[in-house]
Amino acid sequence: MKIKRITLFNIGPYIDLNTFDITIAKDKNIVLIGGKNGAGKTTFFKAIKTCLYGSRVWGFDAPGKEYFAIVNGLVNTKTLYDNTAKAYIEIELVFDDGKQINHYVLHREWKKIKQTFSEYFNVRKNGDLIIGQEEDDFINYLLSVIPPDMFNFYFFDGESIAEFFLGSDGNKNFRNAFLKLYGLDTLSIMVENFARNIKKTDVKNSTYDSFLEARATCEREEVKYNLLQDEIRELENKIDLCQIQMRSLQADYTKNGGIGLADWKELNAQILKEENKIAIALSLRNSDHLTEEDFESDGDGLELNRQTITGEYDDIFKALIISHSGEKLDDNLYFPKYLKAHIDRGTKFLYAEYKYSNGNFYKHLLELDKGI
């Protein structure tokens, strides 16, 4: 980008139209501007800056009160009191990117009507006014070619250049200019925007994230559930198999003469009944009368079931016990007192008999059979 022409109209000491042609040769590309104190060097410099960037270069997003205060200091005093007067700055720029050469004319104009400034700005490209998006694009392009921070490297006021580098903001100015010069501010902008985006999406996505998390948990648990279901089925099959085996073993057991618990209990009860009868028989076979000792018992005999012990033979047992006692016993004495005494005594005899058979149950039964 090269500046070809600068026109000042009612700016500072430059009354009415003042045009400066600063076309340069390829081998002479530095322009020095000199003049006496108060001649308008600084104004000239400020005018270029303001024309190019408007309020932005003074640190304002849009033209406002503070910006117009600066404009107020920039324009010629005549403009301030003459409502019909205007002030403007016009710069002609030449862009040559090798692909094509374009001429741009930037025109920035101010009017002060009733103490209020208005700003007008337009850009002509190769003679034609550009408007809307195209103008925005051009401004954007201009800002990328010479960012305002960089401007101070290319156009500087000998009186204030020291302030730019060595003043209180010197380091900051230099750093910003350096970052912009190498395009590194792009990376800072990227970092800022990543932070902003993450902050924004964090809030937005937390519900969705917890949904995803919950769904993942669901999926995991479902897998576990299915595994457990498989295990259950396997175990159920084992149970079925065991039951079949058990039934077949039971059948074999019964077939080979085995008896069940219920049968065994019943038979045991039967044996007890028969043993009681045998015990009574053994006691009756001994003609000795029952002694006092025989009646000493740990119970009163009320636990005995007359039907179970004597059953259908009750009358015979009663007759034999009365006959053995040699006394007249009424029914209350016969049962349970005498019957129980005979069972207790007979049991002792039976136990003695059992011991006599050396614990051989079969032999014991044979002996009993012979004896009774």
């Binding site: 925007n193 985006n197 995803l212």
Partner: protein, 239 residues
């Protein structure tokens, strides 16, 4: 006119119907249904009319046919084609393959290199400087951070610089680009996304309305190709 028709003469020339052949086949001694368009068109498998010229003695066209046939051969090759569209959309075919987007940057460079060589070897003007300017602008916008791929390629082939060569400054030094690339790979961020963001920020950072940059930034971050796997995951049971 006679010359024009003579160009089409031949037996069974092509796959597409020629209007002339259909309407006037009795009156005009022209046969064949040949297609006769852009020399590098890859719509037909074999350019029979080009073949016909070569058969007719135009041997200088042989390298052109070879270039065209090479183009046909890489057209359906996933190595040369992007798996996403220019707008970041991704689509997957029923067989799981990704649908093709534009040619990859590397493929485009290869194609241009071969085309420029062909131009140099044959002497035909196959591509104009105006077209090269357009391509150069497009490559800058599509993430060539060096901004010099096209001009350097031209120099490699022709040994002389394009007019605008000296104005093409790299956006960043090769070292910075490499550092960025390594950092992106370490963080498992596609470098392509970073280059897209850089190009976008550069063209928007001086816009007074900062909302445009933010909007563009968020749009690039939410392009489908970046989230395709996550989107597929999200849609898994919503068929």
């Amino acid at each position: 006119m006679k010359y024009l028709f003579s160009l089409y003469q031949g037996v069974d020339l092509g796959e597409e119907q020629s209007v002339v052949g259909q309407i006037d086949k009795d009156k005009i001694p022209v046969t064949g249904n040949s297609r006769f368009g852009c020399w590098c068109c890859t719509i037909v498998k074999e350019d029979k009319s080009l073949q016909r010229f070569i058969d007719g003695g135009a041997t200088e066209l042989i390298p052109l046919r070879e270039f065209r046939n090479w183009l046909v051969s890489i057209r359906q090759n996933p190595e040369f084609r992007d798996s996403k569209r220019r707008n970041g959309k991704v689509y997957q075919k029923a067989n799981g393959e990704y649908g093709f987007g534009p040619f990859k940057m590397s493929a485009r460079q290869e194609i241009l290199k071969r085309l420029l060589r062909l131009q140099k070897d044959t002497g035909f003007t196959l591509i104009t400087n105006e077209e090269l300017k357009m391509i150069d602008t497009l490559w800058d916008l599509e993430g060539d951070l060096s901004r010099r791929k096209l001009v350097d390629l031209y120099y490699d082939v022709f040994g002389k610089r394009l007019v605008w060569d000296e104005y093409k400054e790299p956006l960043y030094d090769a070292e910075i680009i490499r550092t960025l690339q390594v950092a992106a790979e370490d963080s498992e961020i596609p470098f392509e996304l970073i280059t897209k963001l850089i190009v976008m920020i550069n063209s928007n950072k001086y816009v007074a309305k900062s909302s445009k940059l933010k909007k563009e930034f968020d749009r690039l971050l939410s392009e489908e190709w970046i989230h395709y796997d996550a989107v597929k995951e999200g849609l898994k049971d919503e068929d």
